[in-house]
Structures are given as structure tokens and as C-alpha cells.
């Protein structure tokens, strides 16, 4: 059965449907990661997005339960040049995800790079192109959207109960890899919903602000909580968590034209001069800044990839040190943080 992607600018890409029937509305984005398709579609940061893989062969090594970054796919649709099944496509189908194969993905990427991320509709099966374009145009743009509440946990839970440091994770759409890395580094981990209060979090040795979807700017209450926390408990922000910390610390964020999504993005650590090859997935970024606290910078566009407020024991990174998928170069960021938190607690 055929299907198509209709973009808000009227561009149409046709393909074969390889998973669920129906249609999906969202923001069309692309990722350049060559591995980790299952991790990507289950990453809550991809909520309300239509993901295009630039890697052409997707699904080669099937699926495995342990690879999911959350309990379900969050991407609305998957666009591929060449899907390989049946493991992968059946898995998508069972989870109701619309997916197309045979898409001219490179042309789609070049279009998104030029026009910026565009809203779109993926239709699996027959449908009116004009109607699809209309629906895409009617869909709310990503800028200004608060999506974290919808993907955050409803109530707190304990992920791992023993460890040398007690860490609270604020779940704005947290990836399992973050929890795994924290626990692996020796932290006892408790996960809280996005609207947890500062008082509750302060009881812990450290607070990790997780990744998550959508625009950070409208998350006013969450930012207020972060502001309260600064200086009272060690903080590590990742991705959306980084952006919230940035806003709380008087930096600004903005919507990137088409985002950074992939597993090969170079980030320079200004203090050491070292370059980290990082896993990235963000559509918003912290405005380039010469401020001292801006420790990490994207070598692609100069956006702030890391912040450090040593006196307040607060730091954050825009990229994904937990990987999943992507390189492990930045694993030590989480490990070092847990170490420091544990050390401060012991002292």
C-alpha cells in the first residue's frame, strides 16, 4: 500500500506504507544517527514529531525490548528510504506507528535544511493531498508548545533504591539510558513528575533535570522550580533540562531552524579544549554566549552546549551524555557528577 508525506509548504513525498494504517500529524525532522532506530522512536523527546532517518537501511538488526528508551514509541511517524523487516516494521505496526519506506529521504532532508523544520502529515494509504496539507498547516507549530507534561510520569517512583548518593530525576520525558547511567554510576534514583516542587527535590543529594520534548520557554512553572533549586542542591541538566537551567539562569533559548539530531555532533569543552563527539536531539537551543559559565559550544553553530555554575553546583549539557543511541564519549559527565554528589554528601 502506498502512502505519502505532505508538508505544510505543499511538498509531497511518496512511499510505501510498512506499518500501521491511518495518518499522523507532527513536525517533520531528520536524524543523522546511523544506528539506534528503536532507541530514537522511543525517546520521549521525539513526541509529536515525524522522524526521517538519513541512514538508508533501517531495521536491519530487528528490535529488542531492552533497547527502548521508554515504554512506547513517541515519534508519530517514521520515514525511511529503505525499511527492513519484519522485526522492526511489525514492531512499529503493533504499536500503531505510521511508517513509510521508499521515501526520497535526502530530498526531504535538503528541503528541511533549507526551509527549517516543517509541519507535516504522513498518510498511510490513500488520502487527499490537499486535505493533508491543510491539516499540516492547521497543526500548532512546535515553538511555544509544552509537551513535557504529556510524557512525564504521573507519580513518583523509585528506579533504584540503593546507592552512594540519592539522586532525584525530574522527568520531562526522561530516557531510560539516563536512569541506567545514574544507577550504574552508583546513585539511588527516584523519578518525579515534571511538576514536582523544589522542597521535595531539595531532600535529595542531587537533582537531574531530564531531557524532554517541546519548547522550554513556556514551561514557566518548571523553570521557577529550577530557579528555586539553584544553589540549594547540586543540579545536572540534560537537553531540555539544560535549557530550563539556562533560562532559570537568565540565558535565552530559541528555535533552531531544523534542530540537531544525530550521533556525530562535535562539541568543544572550552576548559580542556577537547572535542566530544556527541549524541544530540534538540529543536531548541541556548543562544550563543561568551559568558564564563558557557563551558561547551557546538562546533556546528556556536550554540551553548554546556553550562557550569560551580558556586551553585549546577551544570548542564545540551547533548546526551547517556548516549542511547550514540557515542559514549560523554558518559563521564554523568559518572563524575554522581561521584561529586556522593563526595559532597559524605563530606
Amino acid at each position: 500500500m502506498s502512502g505519502f508525506l505532505a508538508l505544510e509548504d505543499g511538498t509531497i513525498f511518496r512511499g510505501e506504507t510498512v506499518a500501521a494504517d491511518g495518518f499522523a500529524v507532527g513536525e517533520a525532522v531528520f536524524t543523522t544517527a546511523m544506528t539506534g532506530y528503536q532507541e530514537i522512536v522511543t525517546d520521549p523527546s521525539f513526541a509529536e514529531q515525524l522522524i526521517c532517518f538519513t541512514a538508508t537501511m533501517v531495521g536491519n538488526y530487528g528490535v529488542a525490548e531492552g533497547r527502548s528508551e521508554s515504554s512506547r514509541p513517541h515519534a508519530r511517524a517514521v520515514l525511511m528510504r529503505e525499511a527492513r523487516g519484519p522485526g522492526w516494521t511489525d514492531w512499529l505496526h503493533e504499536r500503531g506507528i505510521v511508517a513509510l519506506s521508499g521515501i526520497d529521504t535526502r530530498s526531504l532532508v535538503l528541503r528541511l535544511r533549507e526551509a527549517g523544520a516543517l509541519r507535516g502529515v504522513v498518510v498511510a494509504g490513500e488520502g487527499s493531498v490537499e486535505q493533508a496539507v491543510e491539516v499540516a498547516r492547521a497543526h500548532a507549530p512546535m515553538a511555544g508548545r509544552t509537551l513535557a507534561p504529556a510524557v512525564s510520569t504521573a507519580r513518583p517512583y523509585v528506579y533504584s533504591d540503593a546507592g552512594r548518593a540519592r539522586v532525584a530525576v525530574v522527568d520531562y520525558g526522561c530516557k531510560r539510558s539516563i536512569l541506567r547511567r545514574l544507577a550504574g554510576a552508583g546513585a539511588a534514583v527516584t523519578v518525579f513528575p515534571h511538576d514536582v516542587t523544589a522542597d521535595e527535590l531539595r531532600r535529595f543529594d542531587g537533582v537531574l533535570l531530564s531531557n524532554g520534548p517541546g519548547d522550554p520557554a513556556p514551561l514557566v512553572d518548571e523553570i521557577a522550580v529550577v530557579r528555586e533549586l539553584i544553589g540549594s542542591v547540586p543540579i545536572l541538566g540534560i537537553c531540555l533540562g539544560h535549557q530550563l537551567l539556562a533560562i532559570a539562569a537568565e540565558h535565552t533559548t530559541y528555535k533552531l531552524p531544523f534542530g540537531h539530531r544525530g550521533a556525530n555532533h562535535p562539541v568543544v569543552d572550552r576548559t580542556s579544549g577537547r572535542v566530544l563527539v556527541t549524541s544530540q536531539n534538540h529543536g531548541f537551543a541556548v543562544t550563543p554566549s561568551e559568558a564564563r559559565e558557557a563551558t561547551h559550544v557546538s562546533l556546528y553553530d556556536g550554540t551553548v552546549e554546556g553550562l557550569d555554575f560551580p558556586l551553585e553546583h549546577a551544570r548542564s549539557v545540551q547533548f546526551h551524555p547517556e548516549a542511547g543511541p550514540g557515542p559514549h564519549d560523554a558518559w563521564p559527565i554523568i559518572e563524575t557528577w554522581v561521584e561529586e554528589v556522593a563526595y559532597a554528601e559524605a563530606a
Partner: protein, 1016 residues
């Protein structure tokens, strides 16, 4: 960290002649390195014995030395030039081994030369098995359980199956997979003999495990990037050079891939490569995920060349910059211009590499693939899907015969699944646009579809086009479209949008490359293509390159204005020409490959630039060529064309034996034989050419450039071996030493007559045989020949450039070339043969070309140049010791002269009965030894050679009949690395050189050309 300012000049070592396991990828690497070092203001010095390389062009370095790549040769250059540093990571294993030798001999310390890129301790840690094992284990990884062995006594308790790997050999040479105690002992003995440090590793076999390679780059700040992952479709057990490989890896999950990535970073750090690239190989058990680090090359490699072409990330260029102090974030990514080299390329396409074998050249050789590399070249295909890339690579090999490749049963099931789908077409008329799109996206060619639907390739193409199905072109940009790139590196695919079609009004020329390296068509033609691109660009043309060989300089995206990495088939080339609308297509530089396309291109209305196809046909079609020669009054050996055995007998009898038999349109003497009697003629199932074989003739090669009226004779070269040995296998001397003034004049006059008569506009190569004062034309090739690079370097005249100017419309007379210049130096080109790779094949020279590469040496006189060339070819001539002689009856008279000269030089003579008798009769003192097949007491000649009791072997094969004894002698010499000369003319030249070679210091190409020019 910016460029180092404490260094002023840097010496780079090349990889020498093309051999199996070490091909033009190191010319590509060396060229890139020289280019960036010069841009950075370093004075550059290059040493490489291979004249067919671009890196040894006088314009590529400040000083170029075509000197033997041995301790003596390089020491001499270093002493003369006193560079601040030596960069050994661009010249393969040859350069790395030499650097180690130079360091260990104290040469570098004495001369104050710093080793950059890979310091001595790094080379040792990567190359010495024990040190490597310790380093790998130190970072928590495993190597296969193994043991280092220097004698057979140390083999007790080794578990089988096992792999034997000799230390410090090319492409795993001398190693192998063994399952029994007996084969273990044999292989270890051979391995110890092959290893320059008499050491082999016997290790746990991981045969059948999946095999991966990672290309890693690291800088002084400890930044590490993985440029590319490569998966071998043939699992462990087959040398990676012989495997079909794919990039990026296809079967690993992110978790498994990142584990490899971490391991690669850990290994490069543990071994200590601080500023450069490395290739690290892994074996991975498919089910358990167990990992073994197999090996690491702390230098650029064949795989890094492949990775560079696969990703657009120029590893050698980056590695050279790292070696002189830069860090990765300071080096820009060429393709994007805006992002740094400290990122990891991401691919939105798939790349497949296919090896190209040449077993047909080595009858009797074992064709089983194992841990020792046997392929002579490779082709790469790029497609949006795996199968598309796979089939493009597969057909890019241009096989002469039948397909012999089959997917190994132990290959990963994913590959089995992808390749399971057969080509399924009904009648051509039933195919509609969607069918064509599907077939094309699966990588099938028009010819393949035609073969399955009882239609011709042309019919399929016409039908496909009428359905509106045409290829589109995509850019290789290293970033999957994420960053805007101005890349001019393209591949084709189907059913998508076309990207960045050519614009502008500059005249345009499409240059067709030579495809995968093979015996008879190698780097020499790539040299010509690269020069053609440079020359046309200098003339104001846009040069568009088409080629599919990832090892080459021609497929560097910098070489041309646009690069199409595509199979050199008519389908692909026509499509490119339709897109480019060139003013002309240059077919005369890429060997035989473009000639096969010429007719189709002309038919489609594209202009062949320079010599038209009809001239090629006129020269290749023996009837037409014979008639032309007759009309011009030029002598050629008597000949005839036979369609069957009885005709062959009749013709051979008419013209008289011996005769030379061959099919037409061949390069490299494919299937060419000398027949001495009717019995030798054998079966004839397709038309063959039969020529009278001019015996004991001097063979002459001429390279010339003509504008269709006037002709410039670039070089007149004489072969050392007599006619009957393929010109590509024969040593060659410039200027020709044995020509009389009259013969020289006659040869020149024939070429000057022939060139316009054929219609040559561009390059022409003519081969002559001179016998009893008569000059015969053997053949004419209206295209670039194998000797063009050698001739250009020996004379200092860039023949390809001259040809391009003529093709663009200039007159030869206006090129300012000095005709008939007398040279101050003698240059010798010597062939390098791969016999040691093909046990079972007779290592004897004949009309079928088997050389993989060549070396060049120049000196003030012939013996000195010849001795140096032999040294450069890895066969240094002995100056004393024992010489063994055994020649066929026809050579008995002439052998006396060779033997007496050897005796006069103090050599002790050994000979088998027949030859001994001849020598004794001539009054020489000879010790008789028995042949293997003769019974008797005492050691046989083969025993003596094996025991190292001979320093020189002269053994000429009989024209016909059993070759058993001769074969055993030659094979023993090969294994014992004793120079073995199989022609009497070769022996005479060798003895002359032994007697008269002088010690002569090195001289750079630039200085030599300057002297020649001054002399002229």
C-alpha cells in the same frame, strides 16, 4: 594546537612498486599529504621507487627521489637532504618498516631526523605481536589467544584450528589457516621464513566470526573520531583485502556498534597513536557478542583509502596535518567548508567494495581465499541501498571471464536475505516505469535485465527511457545533507530528485578512468587520467572524472571539477555524458576500459576527443592494420587469422614456427602463447591471431604524441628481456642501448608515418622487434601506454600534458618540445612480480603479463641503473657467492658467456648435467648437482637453494614439454628469496650490472631534469 614552527622540511616515504596488498591507495595518501604540507609552507622531499605514481611527479614535492626503498637508499636521501622530520605513515607497511629500520639503525638520530605521525615505540607496539597484545589487554580488551613462535619446537599444546600470522609481512603474507598438526608445521615453517624478524604468531581461530574494521583518527589533544565503520561480508578467515566489504556496518545494533567504537578508541590510545589515523580490525562472535581485537595499522591503509572515498573524509590529508601539530578542530572539513574535521561522517548511502582477482594469470595456483591476500585490485559501488551498491561494485570489476564469487554460507543472515532476491523479469515489453524503477533501485544494469529478458542492452535502455526512467545524481557530502556542502563528488541512483546539475559555459571534457587495478591495467593509467584532468583544467576546461577504483588519485574529489564514482559501463557513462553534455570524451588515458565504450559513445553522438574510435579499430583489427602497414611499406611479422584448429595449423605451418597465438583486443597479453610446434597450438574455439614469433629479437617500445600531422617521439625504450616476454614483465631501458643510428632513424620514421596514417591525435605507443637488422612493427596502440609515466619521468617531458594540448587543438610543433634530445642519464624500469603469492604457479616470464608493478632507477650508466632498479624491485643482485645455471638447449651456446663472466667475477658455478657439460667443454670449472628427478647421492639443486647455498639462479624454461624440474628450481628460489632469472638476456644484463655497477649517490628528479634540460 597550531602548526609546528620548529620543522621546516619533511621527508615522506612512499610504498614502492604496486604489489598485492599494497597498491595505489598509498599514492593517493602520499599525494594528499604532500599537498597539505606544501600548502602549509613545508619543504617536502619524497622517496618512492615507483614511477607510475602521481606523488613522484616533479611538481608534487620540492625534491623527488626515485630511489630504492631500502635502508641504503633512504639513508642516502636523508643524508643529502637533512629534513627535520620523516613522515612514515603514508607509505603503507613498506614505509613503516623502513622507518623502524632507520630508527633502529641509528640513522634518524645521527641525522637529527624526527619521526612524526608514528614514533618508533608506536610502530613497535602496533606491529610487534607481544607488545600489541599487552597494550590491548591493558585496556581491558582481548586479542585471540595466541603464542609467538620462532621455532617449530615451540608449537606443543597449540589448540586447533589455528591461524598462523608472520610478523611484519604485507597483507598477512606467508600466513594461513590450519586445522591439522601437519599443516600447522608447514605453515609455521613458511611463515618464519617469510617474516623479516623470523617470528610468527599462532593464534586461536576466530574463523566464521563477523569481521569489522574501524577507521580511527586521534590528535594531540586526545580527540578521537571514528571516520567509518566497515563490515566484511565474508566473515573472519578471508583476508579483508579479499573480502567484499560494506560501509557503514549493516548488522550491528547501536549498543554493539558503540562497544566497537569504544574499543577502537581504547586501542588507539593504548598503542599511543597521537596524531594520525589507524585502522583497527575486530572479530565479533555473532550470538554472544564476544569481541577480539585482530590487528591495528598505525598508518593510513587500503581500508582508510576506502573509508575516505566512502565518506568524503580525507583521512590522509587530516593525518598529515595532525602530524605537523594541528588538532582536529583546527582542520576544516573540505566538503562542507564550514564544519571542522572533528566530527564523524554520517552516510545517507551505502558503499560496497569488491575485490578483483587475477587467478586466470596464474594457472596452477591455489585459488582458495584465506588469511593471505590474493586480490590485485578493487572496485567500489555507491548506492542508496545495500543491493544497489553491491551490484554496482560487482559489475565494476569488469571481469574477463565467468563470475566466481558466491556468498559464503557463514555470512551474516542479513546479507543472505538481501542477496537472495534474484533478478526476475518477464518479457521486456511487459515492463513499465514502476518495474524499471524497482529493478534499478535493486541495482540491476540494463545489460543484466537484457540478459534475463532475451533483449539487448540497447533495447532495454531504449524501453527504459521510453518509460521515462533515468538515473539521478546525489552528492557525497560526509554529513547526510545536514550541513550545506559544495561537494562535487557524485553517485547515481534512481527515482529521486537530481542534485546540483552542472552549470556554466566552460568547455567540458569527460575523462574515463581505468577501473579496478588488474594485471596489465594498473596505476599507470590512473597516472595518465590524473594528468589529463590537471592538463585540461589548465587549458580552461572543466574536467569531469568517471572511475570506480577507490584506491586511486583520480577518485580524489580534488583531482577533477566533478567526480562521478560509477561503474565504467556504457549505461553509466552514457548517462553521465547526457548530464554533462561534454565537448569531448577522453578515452585514451584509461587503458582498455574506455576503448570498449568508444563505439557506443560515438553512436550516441558524443564526440571522442583526440584520436577517434576508428583509429583504435584500425590499429586493433589485424586485417585493417595489416593492410595499412602493407600500403605504407612497413614490415611486420607474417601473420594470419584462424577460426579453427585446422586453419591454425595451416597458417602456422605457412609462416613457420615458432608462432605467437592470441585473441585480439587484449591488454596484458591475456591468453597469449608462444607455440613451437603443431602440438602446442591446442584447441582453437574462437578466432585467434597467429603471428610469426621473431626469435632472439630486441624489443623496442616507443611512446609518441601526434596531432595527426606532426609527431613528437617522446621515448624510444629497449626491453631487456627478448621478444616473447611480455613488455609489461620485461625490464626496460631508456635510452635504448643496442640501437644503431640507422635503426633508431628507421623506428622514428615509421612512427612518424604511422601516427597520421592511423589518425592519431594524442598518444601513440608502437612496439617493434629488431632481428637481424630488420625492423618489424609488432603492434600499435593509439592510446596511453603503460610506459608513459616512466618515459615522462626519464625524459622530463610530460607526455600526457602534451597529448591533452594536442587534443584541445594545439599543434605538436607549437608545444616547444625538444625532439631527439640526448639524455645524460640512463633510466631503467624493472617489473615486480607476485609469484610468491601464488604457490603452485610457475614463476617464469612469458608472453602473458603477470607483473603487478614496476620500479624505476636512473644513473649515469646502464649497469648502475640496472643494479639499482633490481635492488628497488626487491631483488638485489649478489656481488659474490655461488651461481646456479640450468638452461634449455637453445640457450646452451649463449650461457657460456654469462657463466664465464660470473666465474671471472669470482662466482662459484653450479649446474645440472646438460649445462655443466657445455660449460666444462668451454673450459669453465663447474660443480655438478643433480636435478630433483634424477636419483643419486648428495643434495639436489633444490636442496641447495633451500639451504641458502645459492646466491643467484639462472634457469631458462624449455619452449615446450614438461617443466617439472625447472619449476621446482624456480619455486625453491622464490621461497628462498634468491634472485632467479628466467631469460638469458635478463641474465646477461644482470651479469653486466654485477660486473660494472658503481656506487652512485642519489639525485632528485628535479635536479636530473634540470641537468637534462641544460644539456639539451
Amino acid at each position: 594546537m597550531p602548526r609546528r614552527h620548529d620543522l621546516e622540511s619533511i621527508c615522506l616515504i612512499g610504498s614502492g612498486p604496486i604489489v598485492i596488498g599494497q597498491a595505489c591507495e598509498f599514492d593517493y595518501a602520499g599525494c594528499q599529504a604532500l599537498k597539505v604540507l606544501r600548502e602549509d609552507g613545508f619543504r617536502t622531499i619524497v622517496v618512492n621507487s615507483n614511477p607510475a605514481t602521481i606523488m613522484t611527479d616533479p611538481g608534487f614535492a620540492d625534491r623527488t627521489y626515485l630511489e630504492p626503498l631500502d635502508l641504503e637508499g633512504v639513508t642516502d636521501v636523508l643524508a643529502r637532504e637533512r629534513p627535520g622530520a620523516l613522515l612514515p605513515t603514508m607509505g603503507g607497511q613498506t614505509a613503516l618498516n623502513l622507518a623502524r629500520e632507520l630508527a633502529e639503525a641509528g640513522v634518524l638520530a645521527d641525522l637529527g631526523v624526527e619521526l612524526i605521525g608514528a614514533p618508533l615505540d608506536v610502530i613497535r607496539r602496533a606491529e610487534d605481536r607481544q607488545l600489541f597484545r599487552t597494550a590491548v589487554r591493558g585496556c581491558g580488551l582481548q586479542v585471540p589467544v595466541s603464542r609467538i613462535v620462532t621455532t617449530l619446537e615451540e608449537l606443543g599444546g597449540v589448540s586447533l584450528p589455528a591461524v598462523v600470522r608472520p610478523a611484519f609481512t604485507l597483507g598477512g603474507h606467508g600466513g594461513g589457516f590450519v586445522e591439522t598438526v601437519e599443516t600447522l608445521h608447514q605453515q609455521v615453517e613458511r611463515g618464519i621464513a617469510e617474516s623479516p624478524i623470523d617470528q610468527v604468531l599462532v593464534e586461536e581461530s576466530v574463523r566464521g566470526w563477523d569481521e569489522f574494521e574501524l577507521e580511527v583518527v586521534r590528535d594531540r589533544k586526545d580527540n578521537v573520531v571514528i571516520v567509518c565503520s566497515i563490515e566484511n561480508i565474508d566473515p573472519m578467515g578471508v583476508h579483508t583485502g579479499d573480502s567484499v566489504t560494506v560501509a557503514p556496518q549493516m548488522t550491528l545494533s547501536d549498543h554493539a556498534y558503540q562497544e566497537l567504537r569504544d574499543a577502537a578508541a581504547a586501542v588507539i590510545r593504548a598503542v599511543g597513536v597521537e596524531c594520525g589515523g589507524s585502522n583497527i580490525q575486530f572479530a565479533r562472535e555473532r550470538e554472544t557478542g564476544e569481541l577480539r581485537v585482530i590487528e591495528m595499522n598505525p598508518r593510513v591503509s587500503r581500508s582508510s583509502a576506502l573509508a575516505s572515498k566512502a565518506t568524503g573524509y580525507p583521512i590522509a590529508k587530516v593525518a598529515a596535518k595532525l602530524a605537523v601539530g594541528y588538532s582536529l578542530d583546527e582542520i576544516p572539513n573540505d566538503l562542507t567548508g564550514t564544519t571542522p574535521a572533528s566530527f564523524e561522517p554520517t552516510l545517507d548511502y551505502v558503499v560496497v567494495k569488491f575485490p578483483r582477482f587475477a587467478f586466470e594469470k596464474f594457472p596452477g595456483a591455489d585459488t582458495t581465499l584465506g588469511t593471505q591476500m590474493k586480490s590485485v585490485g578493487e572496485a567500489m559501488g555507491i548506492g542508496r541501498t545495500f543491493v544497489e551498491a553491491f551490484r554496482k561494485a560487482q559489475r565494476s570489476r569488469e571481469l574477463d571471464g565467468r563470475e566466481t564469487w558466491a556468498l559464503d554460507e557463514s555470512a551474516h543472515p542479513w546479507f543472505q536475505g538481501e542477496l537472495a532476491r534474484e533478478l526476475d523479469v518477464g518479457g521486456l515489453d511487459d515492463l513499465v516505469a514502476d518495474d524499471f524503477l524497482r529493478l534499478k533501485r535493486e541495482g540491476w544494469s540494463d545489460a543484466e535485465i537484457g540478459a534475463r529478458s532475451a533483449a539487448t542492452e540497447d533495447d532495454v535502455r531504449a524501453r527504459r527511457r521510453s518509460c521515462g526512467v533515468r538515473p539521478v545524481y546525489r552528492r557525497v557530502d560526509s554529513c547526510a545533507g545536514e550541513v550545506e556542502a559544495a561537494s562535487t563528488y557524485y553517485y547515481s541512483t534512481w527515482g529521486e530528485a537530481d542534485e546540483a546539475p552542472p552549470r556554466g559555459n566552460a568547455p567540458r571534457v569527460v575523462i574515463l578512468g581505468s577501473g579496478p587495478n588488474r594485471i596489465g591495467q594498473g596505476i599507470e593509467f590512473d597516472y595518465c587520467c590524473v594528468h589529463a584532468a590537471q592538463s585540461f583544467r589548465a587549458l580552461g576546461y572543466e574536467a569531469v572524472m568517471v572511475n570506480c577504483n577507490p584506491e586511486t588519485v583520480s577518485t580524489d574529489y580534488d583531482t577533477s571539477d566533478r567526480l562521478y564514482f560509477e561503474p565504467l559501463g556504457l549505461e553509466e557513462v552514457l548517462a553521465i555524458c547526457e548530464r554533462e553534455r561534454p565537448d569531448g570524451v577522453a578515452i585514451q588515458f584509461g587503458g582498455q576500459t574506455p576503448l570498449k565504450l568508444a563505439r557506443g559513445l560515438e553512436t550516441a553522438g558524443f564526440r571522442i576527443m583526440g584520436t577517434p574510435f576508428d583509429a583504435v579499430d584500425l590499429a586493433e583489427d589485424r586485417e585493417r592494420f595489416g593492410a595499412l602497414l602493407a600500403r605504407l611499406g612497413i614490415r611486420c611479422p607474417e601473420w594470419g587469422i584462424a577460426g579453427n584448429a585446422s586453419e591454425a595449423r595451416a597458417i602456422a605451418t605457412r609462416i613457420g614456427f615458432p608462432v605467437l597465438i592470441r585473441p585480439s583486443y587484449v591488454l596484458g597479453g591475456r591468453a597469449m602463447r608462444v607455440c613451437y610446434s603443431v602440438d602446442d597450438l591446442g584447441a582453437v574455439d574462437r578466432p585467434v591471431l597467429i603471428d610469426r614469433f621473431v626469435e632472439s629479437a630486441i624489443e623496442i617500445d616507443v611512446d609518441a604524441v601526434s596531432d595527426g600531422r606532426d609527431t613528437f617521439i617522446g621515448a624510444v625504450m629497449q626491453h631487456v628481456e627478448e621478444a616473447g616476454v611480455h613488455s609489461g614483465d620485461s625490464a626496460c631501458v631508456l635510452p635504448a642501448p643496442s640501437l644503431s643510428a640507422a635503426e633508431d632513424a628507421e623506428i622514428r620514421s615509421i612512427v612518424e608515418t604511422l601516427a597520421p596514417a592511423l589518425g592519431v591525435v594524442g598518444l601513440l605507443n608502437v612496439q617493434f622487434a629488431i632481428s637481424e637488422d630488420a625492423v618489424y612493427v609488432l603492434e600499435a596502440n593509439p592510446r596511453a601506454s603503460r610506459t608513459v609515466p616512466f618515459a615522462s619521468k626519464a625524459t622530463g617531458v610530460n607526455l600526457v600534458q602534451a597529448a591533452c594540448r594536442v587534443m584541445a587543438g594545439e599543434r605538436v610543433s607549437k608545444l616547444g618540445l625538444a625532439e631527439g634530445q640526448s639524455l645524460e642519464h640512463v633510466s631503467v624500469k624493472a617489473a615486480v612480480l607476485p609469484f610468491a603469492r601464488f604457490p603452485g604457479a610457475d614463476p617464469v616470464l612469458g608472453p602473458e603479463m603477470r607483473a603487478t608493478g614496476e620500479v624505476m632507477a636512473s644513473a649515469a650508466d646502464l649497469p648502475t641503473a640496472f643494479a639499482k632498479a633490481e635492488r628497488a624491485a626487491g631483488r638485489p643482485l649478489p656481488i659474490a657467492g655461488t651461481a646456479f645455471l640450468s638452461v634449455r638447449d637453445a640457450d646452451k651456446r649463449a650461457v657460456v658467456d654469462v657463466a664465464s663472466k660470473l666465474a671471472a667475477l669470482g662466482f662459484k658455478l653450479l649446474a645440472t648435467a646438460g649445462t655443466a657439460e657445455t660449460l666444462e667443454t668451454a673450459g669453465l670449472e663447474v660443480e655438478r648437482v643433480r636435478k630433483v628427478t634424477e636419483s643419486g647421492a648428495g643434495p639436489s639443486v633444490v636442496d641447495l637453494i633451500r639451504r641458502g647455498r645459492c646466491n643467484l639462479v639462472v634457469n631458462t624454461p624449455h619452449g615446450s614439454g614438461a617443466r617439472t624440474d625447472g619449476y621446482l628450481i624456480r619455486e625453491a628460489a622464490l621461497v628462498a628469496r634468491v634472485p632467479c632469472i628466467t631469460t638469458l638476456s635478463g641474465a646477461a644484463a644482470a651479469v653486466h650490472a654485477i660486473a660494472n655497477a658503481r656506487n652512485e649517490g642519489s639525485l632528485s628528479l628535479q635536479e636530473r631534469i634540470e641537468r637534462e634540460t641544460r644539456a639539451a
